[in-house]
C-alpha cells in the first residue's frame, strides 16, 4: 500500500518506521529541513520537504495514488486542512487525522473527516488504567453506535457488593458482558450472579449512561 504521512515529528517518525517494517511504501511530508535530514539519515529517502496542506506539494507526492493519508502534526488546524485537501482534491480512500484538542473530534467529523485519533484522550485513558483506585476504565468507544465498553472494578466499599446482578439499578441499554474474578475463569454474569469485592466487570453502555452505570456498580 502507498501511505502518505504529513508531519515528521515524533509520531510521524515512528509511524513511518513501523509502516516501512510492515513492507508498505511510505512518504512523509515535513516542512522543517532539519527533520527531513534526520529521516534521510535514519530511514533513507522517505521524506519530502514541503507543506502538506498545499495541493501542489501533495500532487508532487503522488497523493492521487495514495491508499491511506495520515496527518500527524501537533496543530489541529493543519491536520484538518491537509486531510480536506487529500479528501476533496485527491479522493484518497482512507484518511486519518491526529487530534490534539479532544474538543475538535466533533468539529472534524462535522467537516467530513471521520477517522480521528485524539492523542490526549488516548493518553488520559492509559493513565486512568494505571490509577488503581479509579473504578471505571474506558476500554473501547464504538463511536457509530454511541456505545462504550468499560471495565468497572468492584471495591470493598462498593454498594453492589453482596447483591445479585438483577438487583442492581443498571441504566437502560447497558449490558454486563463479562465477569473476571481472581483465580477463576472469566464468565458471563447471569441475573443471579453475586457481586464480590475485587470483581472486574466488562460492560457495554450507551455513551451518556456511563455515570449511571458507575453509580449502580460502585455507588457514591
Amino acid at each position: 500500500m502507498y501511505i502518505l504521512v504529513v508531519g515528521g515529528g515524533v509520531v510521524g517518525y515512528y509511524l513511518c518506521r513501523a509502516l516501512i517494517e510492515e513492507g508498505h511504501e511510505v512518504l512523509v511530508i515535513e516542512k522543517d529541513a532539519k527533520k527531513c535530514e534526520h529521516f534521510l539519515d535514519e530511514l533513507g529517502s522517505v521524506c519530502m520537504r514541503g507543506d502538506g496542506c498545499e495541493a501542489s506539494t501533495l500532487s508532487e507526492a503522488g497523493t492521487g495514488r495514495a491508499d491511506i493519508f495520515i496527518a500527524t502534526t501537533n496543530e489541529d488546524e493543519d491536520n484538518l486542512v491537509a486531510c480536506q485537501v487529500a479528501k476533496h482534491k485527491f479522493n484518497v480512500p482512507r484518511i486519518i487525522a491526529r487530534i490534539n484538542n479532544p474538543k475538535n473530534e466533533k468539529v472534524f467529523k462535522k467537516l467530513g473527516i471521520d477517522c480521528t485519533i485524539s492523542v490526549t484522550n488516548l493518553l488520559l485513558e492509559h493513565i486512568e488504567e494505571e490509577i488503581p483506585t479509579h473504578p471505571l476504565v474506558h476500554l473501547l468507544t464504538l463511536a457509530r453506535e454511541n456505545l462504550e465498553i468499560v471495565e468497572v472494578k468492584i471495591l470493598r466499599t462498593s454498594k453492589s457488593v453482596g447483591k445479585t446482578v438483577k438487583e442492581l439499578p443498571l441504566p437502560a441499554g447497558s449490558i454486563l458482558s463479562l465477569l473476571i474474578r481472581n483465580g477463576q475463569k472469566p464468565q458471563v454474569p447471569s441475573p443471579d450472579t453475586l457481586i464480590e469485592a475485587g470483581d472486574r466487570l466488562i460492560a457495554l453502555t450507551p455513551g451518556d449512561q456511563e455515570e449511571t452505570l458507575r453509580k449502580a456498580l460502585t455507588g457514591d
Binding site: 495541493a55 496543530e75 484538518l80 486542512v81 476533496h88 482534491k89 474538543k103 468539529v107 467537516l111
Partner: protein, 145 residues
C-alpha cells in the same frame, strides 16, 4: 449587523473600528490580550481573549446570533478551520476569511469558503499603479521626444 472578528492584528483591529463607527455590534477575538492595544479608545464593541477555533469561545463571542464572521489571523489554516466552523457548525450567513497563500485559494473555494488573498490583491494593485504611471517610463519619454 452583529459581526465576530477573529484576530486583532492591524487588519482585524482596523476593520473592527470601522464597523464599530458605522454602528454595528462588533466582537473581536484574539489569543493574546496585548493585541487589543490596537483598538482605538473609542471602540465600543467587545474584545474577548480566546481561540477562535474553539466552539465554546465562539459561542461566548455570540457566534450563534452573528450575521457575519471574519477570520483574519496570521495562520491560513487557522482561518480556514474557524471559517468552516462558523459556516457549517453555526450556520453564520456571511463568512469571510483571509488567505495569504494564493495557491490555496482554489481549495478554499472548493470548501465553499469566501476567501480573499491580500497577496494577490496587493500584487494586482501595485501592477495597476505602475501601469497607469507608464507614461513616465524611459521608453515613452524617448518616444515623446
Amino acid at each position: 449587523m452583529e459581526v465576530v472578528i477573529m484576530g486583532c492584528g492591524r487588519v482585524g483591529a482596523q476593520l473592527a473600528s470601522l464597523l464599530d463607527t458605522d454602528g454595528h455590534k462588533v466582537t473581536i477575538l484574539d489569543i493574546d490580550a496585548y493585541s487589543f492595544r490596537r483598538l482605538p479608545p473609542t471602540f465600543s464593541g467587545t474584545a474577548l481573549v480566546g481561540d477562535g477555533i474553539d466552539e465554546d469561545v465562539l459561542k461566548k463571542a455570540g457566534i450563534e446570533k452573528a450575521d457575519a464572521f471574519i477570520a483574519v489571523t496570521q495562520g491560513d489554516n487557522r482561518n480556514v478551520m474557524a471559517a468552516q466552523i462558523a459556516k457549517h457548525l453555526f450556520n453564520v450567513p456571511r463568512v469571510l476569511c483571509r488567505i495569504y497563500d494564493p495557491l490555496r485559494k482554489d481549495l478554499y473555494e472548493m470548501l465553499g469558503l469566501e476567501a480573499i488573498s491580500p497577496t494577490t490583491v496587493f500584487a494586482h494593485l501595485l501592477k495597476e499603479r505602475l501601469e497607469t504611471g507608464a507614461k513616465g517610463t524611459k521608453a515613452n519619454l524617448r518616444k515623446e521626444k
